[in-house]
Symmetry: C2
Subunit: 405 residues, 2 copies
């Protein structure tokens, strides 16, 4: 451990904490680095649409800045934002526990990612375990590791009719240190969307074992069932005593990916510890961002509907185009992703890199999403229909050219 000024190049990684040294790079970011700045590439690898934030939201932030709203803020978020979140949830779910949603359940965070970081810290300590059904967005398991806990992956089962989470698999993975289950429905990347009956079964299992559920319903508004305003939610079935922490973001619904603002929703008795964890992470969210977020909740339904419609069109395009290609399989897509398998692919990272170079199409490799993801690719269809058609055309041409027949 002694300082050695003669050492030519210290092993910096060996000087780091275990948690920091073990944090993996994101497999999505790795492939993106490969293709960044490449001329003509169609980038479908990232979970982001191609529309900028609606102008009325940008103007609200600019107006707050011009008014001088540049000072420290309440760590839980503005009362206006917390109230707007409660009203928004009332409109979607018609109240909670037989009463209107209370503003005190909601806390502003500096991104959906930060909501996840805080939820993990609330539920799990060093040495604890958190169950993660996979394939899953890799940041969740990575954040569990940064917190000093470990993620226990439980792969969903793939069938062309739909992905399936087997609760016996989940139950078998529960050990004495298991503290929480991560429940992402609709799922990034698989599109798996739990029915209300499935949600009830999962909730009952977690009740039996005293587990927290970290509920990521970020894509709930991206429903392609015209009869619904949102996908099935734990909000409709939980009771007052249930240990559920909802994590969410403004990113997807209102095209605010680059803003870094989200929220955590929790039993209001947890207000003090949540506020403390916010204080010791980023201490709050810029007021001028919160002003835009309030407007998104109160006047953003038309903008959201347009984004969902764009995704629906994109979904139809990619389903139609890829269903015709030999060797490609997928379940009905949800969220705004198509997660498809290519027959014979055993190294999706290398395959994705080749696709970038030879077909100029950027996909996220399934291996980045944990157990059960290898051989698959994630394609984001919340994009320009022409780009999606062109990307599918390039894929078809490239696959035909490499086909042995």
């Amino acid at each position: 451990m002694a300082f050695n000024p003669g050492l030519s190049s210290p092993d910096w990684r060996a000087r780091l904490s275990t948690e920091a040294a073990a944090a993996p790079a994101s497999g999505i970011a790795e492939v993106m680095r490969h293709g960044f700045g490449r001329s003509g590439i169609i980038p479908l690898w990232v979970g982001e649409g191609d529309q900028p934030t609606p102008a009325f939201l940008c103007k609200a932030a600019a107006a707050a800045l011009a008014r001088g709203e540049t000072f420290y803020m309440p760590q839980a978020g503005l009362v206006e934002l917390r109230s707007a979140l409660a009203a928004y949830h009332d409109r979607l779910y018609g109240g909670l526990f037989g009463a209107p949603f209370r503003a005190e359940r909601f806390f502003a965070t500096g991104s959906g990612m930060q909501a996840i970081q805080i939820a993990i810290r609330l539920a799990a300590g060093a040495g604890d375990e958190v169950i993660v059904p996979t394939p899953a967005w890799p940041n969740f398991a990575a954040a569990v590791g940064v917190a000093g806990a470990s993620a226990r992956q439980v792969p969903l089962h793939f069938a062309a009719t739909g992905w399936h989470l087997d609760l016996d698999d989940v139950e078998r993975s529960i050990g004495p240190r298991t503290r929480a289950l991560f429940l992402n429905s609709p799922s990034n990347p698989t599109g798996w969307t739990a029915s209300e009956a499935e949600l009830s079964a999962i909730l009952n299992l977690c009740r039996r074992y005293g587990l927290w559920i970290i509920a990521d319903e970020v894509y709930s508004r991206f429903t392609y069932d015209a009869a619904r305003r949102s996908t099935p939610s734990l909000h409709s079935i939980i009771a007052t005593h249930d240990r559920v922490l909802f994590v969410n973001t403004f990113s997807k619904n209102w095209a605010m990916t680059g803003w870094r603002i989200g929220w955590i929703e929790a039993p209001e008795a947890l207000g003090p510890p949540i506020e403390n964890l916010i204080q010791y992470s980023t201490s709050g969210v810029a007021v001028f961002m919160q002003r835009a977020a309030v407007l998104a909740l109160t006047q953003g339904e038309a903008a959201l509907a347009a984004l969902v419609e764009r995704s629906r069109a994109g979904r139809d395009i990619v389903i139609g185009a890829l269903a015709r290609l030999p060797g490609i399989e997928f379940a009905p897509p949800g969220a705004f992703y198509l997660f498809f398998r290519v027959a014979g692919v055993s190294d999706s990272t290398s395959f994705a890199s080749t696709l970038i170079r030879q077909a100029n199409v950027g996909l996220a490799p399934g291996s980045a999403f944990g157990l059960g993801g290898e051989g698959f690719f994630r394609l984001c269809f919340a994009r320009d229909p022409n780009d999606l058609r062109a990307a599918c055309g390039r894929l078809a041409d490239w696959m035909a050219a490499r086909s042995p027949s």
Copy 2:
């Protein structure tokens, strides 16, 4: 652990991880809550000036929003921002290791607090210890606890001629699990500012024991020595192998407290783990904020000079007024705080609350800052001179009224 639906009000805190349940509330926030919204109060409790962000910085962010810069960003920060940080440091310190500062040393974070959170995670794991000279900003030790490590407080010694950090005290506090020392100079709240000789001695001690230094020089530009542009810095003395992580923020220099943007500066070999930790915290900083930050670095010197001048004037006012009061003692103030002791006070939290009610002046209680802080009060003088004069007058009147003589 079993779910008990009959339980009338669950003990939510018992269901939390140790790290979350143990996170303390900020003693500053506690007192502020006491006085928030009180009519006519002069709030000197928080580490924040009373000037809004300069308009040219707000306009830069608004222009970026209007241009549609609302998408995901590189997790380390924009190249333009990292380069501007390198050039800014070059102007202040004339290079590093005999060459210009490299942009690759700098990483944008979602606040100075987040830079601290990441620096702690880099240096210390669960069960490790971090030494914190106190009195200190409470968020540092709290964030150590949230990371599963523990803070070992080493009190500075108070004298009216200046606070003093005894390196023998520090050395005695080093144990087998000690991984880092937090070095905040100029110090919030004491104003203690290490000389270059003191910095060298601290650096040598940390070299001998293989400790990281987490260097918080956030207030370095607030120097009241007309011959200097900044206070003594580790930048002037470190060698390539030294384990130093600098944490910093745009908050104080450019009146951007409410923005939530800072940076971490580290050996560039640590780029991958730092980027991963950013990815799993908030995943980056809004591009439109980064545009303003670039402008602050490249065109913000005049605005910064005006803020420092305002602090200098405030400093003179409070020193002059409080030096005349019986029973009040303080060392020469630094950063933008006067940290003064009131003879006979043994419960600064209760005293601060009484001051709010009876004198309508808001101070932060010394007990909030850890060992050695009890009996002291922190007053922020980066404020309107008239408010400062009025606050000192109220304090003098109130103390005269309660004096037994």
